[in-house]
Amino acid sequence: MIAAAVTATPGGGSTVTLLMFLGFVAATLVITWWSARKSSGASAYFAAGRRITGWQNGLAVAGDYMSAASFLGIAGMIAFKGYDGFMYSVGFLVAYLTVLIVVAEPLRNAGKYTMADILAYRLNARPVRAMASLSTLTVSIFYMIAQMVGAGALVKLLLPGVPYEVAVCGVGALMIIYVVFGGMLATTWVQIIKAVLLMSGSLFLSVLVMKHFDYSFVKFFEAIGNVPIKLPDGTSVTRDFMQPGLVYGAEVTNGWGPIDLISLGMALVFGTAGLPHILIRFYTVPDAPTARASVVWAMILIGLFYIMTTFFGFGAATILTPENISVENMSAPLLAMALGGDAFFAFISAVAFATILAVVAGLTISASTSFAHDFYSNVIHHGKATSQESEVKVARITAFVVGGISIILAIKLQTLNVAFLVGLAFAVAASANLPAIVLSIYWKRFNTAGAVTGLAVGLLSSIILIVISPSVMGLDAKSLIHAEPLFPLKNPGIVSIPLGFIAAIVATLCTREPEAEAKFAELSVRANTGLGAEKATEH
């Protein structure tokens, strides 16, 4: 049986896998080297010279977004929990409406390199930039942990002899080298190449799943209705995986499940517009209409991709069945091996690896850009004394530090589903960054005290709620803290997002800052007309 064969670790095919793998890594490093030669100066390093076209940036946004979490995590969650995993797919796409309609264009028109630029525009720059930089680093690290966990599991599957810790460290080092030498232009190109590979790999995998069911949707959905699973006591039962509730059902979560599901939805839909590595993508295009076009391109690709998670997620559930998948996060590569043999397994693994490489690169660059531009130049040096060369140098050092922290945390959190880990990054972004961004663009009265308080309360409340949630605290052996969870929900969004907004609004109303209100008209003119927006650099 196919199902029995795939539980074994890859043996005969591992040389092919490795060669394809190394080939891809070499190819991406060559592109980095090539573009590192071409780009120079701060605008090139941080914003790819603002010369990226709409569809290129759309591919790059999609590439940044379709991370290991989407590909490995959602596939794994659908394979093990059915419908509830698909809720991530829906939220990840609908989130782009917030990006498209609310933030992309004003941000492109009024900002320069980072998310904090739009906040600092009319607020007191130093405290706002310091807080924004802190929250950017936090979100990036959370997001990066998920990618590193995925990368470690993948390398371990490819090279069964390598311990997980070594795999994570190796992958991390490679990625950091990539960013440090390539900058944004190389990162943009690796995103584009990876988005194309991921889309074609997923499409082929989906077609193979349908082939398994004789291209009959009726047969496919019938099989989803009868997935055999093993209960903890050893008995086998069949479950309808198309039915919601295996993770967030009221009966499996002491009644908190539905609220948790809404909380997850809030984090996903409002979090994307606060993700620093997605927001800085809009600085790589020449103007606001191109930023808008790139979101639309990204939405087409991302939507198609997330619809395909139906096929490879439920495909893994029905063809492999959960009990034959050794690691949840590896459901998609294992399905590829069952349906397409070792060569296709090698290809999918290489694509997944490239995905992780590309996303980590994007994250590292947003974190390091934020630290160099917001914290180093504008907070420590008051926006004056630094040369652009030293800003680039600080960015490179930050890349090493952020990468190191993520590697350490990834080793601690290796058993968690990567889509879930990313969901937490979204919750932090939605609670801390989104209130500050939205209020700063649309509310005249908004001021520095409001921005700093909103950022701080959103950041702290989301992190504290995660630490006291059932995903960190618990009574079983896997939990990081052995105690009864103090907060019933796994996703903090439903509490921390309103808290972030309320804190920002209350602190604003308690203080007055006439300078910030006076500059609102100027920000509004720039954000809505593109007057004085940063231009593309000449060749």
Binding site: V90, E522, V525
Partner: protein, 138 residues
Amino acid sequence: MSFPQPQDYTPIVGSQTDIAPLGPEHPRHEQTAQQLHDASCDRIAAMPEFHQLLQRKAKFIVPACIFFTVYYFLLPVMVGFFPELMKTRVGPVNAAYAFALSQFFMAWILAAIYTRVAAGWDRDSANILASLPKGESK
């Protein structure tokens, strides 16, 4: 000797009469890029066309955001609180999956509508920028 007014950029040294004081009210060719930019911003902020543009944008953006937020959160609410209703068969799938799939089309259609509407705003803002006096920063 008297100290210059805050808006007067004339150096303290030298006779007060041999250099015309520089400032926002002085000829365009004598102003700095920042002053030109500020002048353009003020001019646009005072234009009725600009306020009409803001109103048109709000008239689309606010209802659009309310619509997609309500439509999206109906999904977790229905799935979470009315699981029995969501088990209803719709063709080969159940209502829960059909509603989830409809979210993708909702997002694409709303994005397409937004793109069309926003193209109109681009023309309006281009007209506003074009109506600035020649030579001001754009």
